[in-house]
């Protein structure tokens, strides 16, 4: 049902790595390390700045692939990867986009399941990649049927 969107990307969306958002995120994952939240500590670190936790890109905006709508409910998160060329710095601008890497269906115990392989990436202002990520999201038969209806 998503086959026709494979390879399609969203337009890039500018995100700013906001100090307050990073702090809130670090606290929410129980990791209030001063490298994330203490400005002075960040300045003295090798990064000369605070950085964001590696899973922080979950909170960024990636735009929409035109015409593609994921179900709001019933998706199961199966796998997740992140790849970094360097940590994200607090205050920097990141240009984010999403791409449907793949979609396939498999027979499972509870009927046919759909597997959405979704990439979400962030580049710097010169177009150099800072991070890429890939999520495998599973749609169960029930949700798939509801969407087709």
């Amino acid at each position: 049902m998503f086959e026709s969107f494979i390879g399609k990307t969203s337009p890039k969306v500018k995100n700013v790595i906001e100090r307050g958002s990073v702090k809130k995120f670090a606290l929410a994952i129980g990791d209030p390390h001063p490298l994330y939240i203490d400005e002075e500590y960040g300045k003295k670190s090798r990064y000369g700045n605070n950085i964001a936790p590696p899973t922080f890109p979950r909170s960024l905006e990636y735009g929409e692939i035109e015409g593609m709508e994921l179900p709001k409910k019933g998706l199961i998160h199966g796998e997740q990867t992140y790849h970094y060329t360097r940590p994200l710095l607090v205050g920097e601008e990141v240009y984010c986009y999403t791409k449907l890497h793949d979609y396939y269906e498999k027979e499972g115990r509870s009927g046919k399941m759909g597997f959405i392989v979704l990439d979400r990436c962030g580049d710097d202002r010169d177009g150099r990649q800072i991070f890429s990520s890939r999520a495998v999201l599973i749609i169960t038969e029930t949700v798939r049927k509801a969407m087709m209806a």
Binding site: A28, D31, H33, T55, S59, H83, P87
Partner: protein
């Protein structure tokens, strides 16, 4: 300052056991991440989805697991972080976070990482490749 460079294959980072999972943990994560899927916060929605109770965001557990490496960011950074979500995490579950060296080179250290619940079930399993600045 703690250091990773002295670790050998088969050795582990000191494991961390989290406080029991609370609803407020998941409400905070929903707010911080923007993932407001209600199966993580609202009992009725979890029940409608056929679950015995609300479950933690997989990304909450993945986020927690990465904190084993935060103290070492002067030495390097997480270059690759891959996990599979192998089990659900419910309210009051007590998770233990582990990381063991699988492979080591001059440039990087690869760890097997996992989050295990109070019954010994692995709920998140994966790998971290920690790139050393050298």
């Amino acid at each position: 300052m703690k250091s990773l460079s002295g670790l050998e294959r088969g050795q582990s980072l000191e494991e961390v056991t989290l406080e029991p999972v609370t609803r407020l943990d998941l409400i905070k994560y929903a707010g911080a991440s923007g993932d407001f899927n209600p199966i993580h916060t609202i009992d009725e929605e979890a029940a409608k989805a056929g679950l015995p109770g609300i479950i933690a965001h997989g990304m909450w557990t993945m986020g927690n697991l990465a904190k084993l490496f935060t103290p070492y960011y002067e030495e390097g950074f997480i270059q690759d972080y891959t996990v599979r979500f192998t089990g659900m995490v419910f309210l009051n579950d007590v998770l233990t976070l582990q990381a063991e060296v699988e492979e080591k080179s001059e440039q990087s250290i690869v760890f097997n990482v996992s989050a295990i619940n109070q019954n010994g079930k692995t709920v998140v399993k994966g790998k971290v490749k920690f790139r050393l600045y050298g």
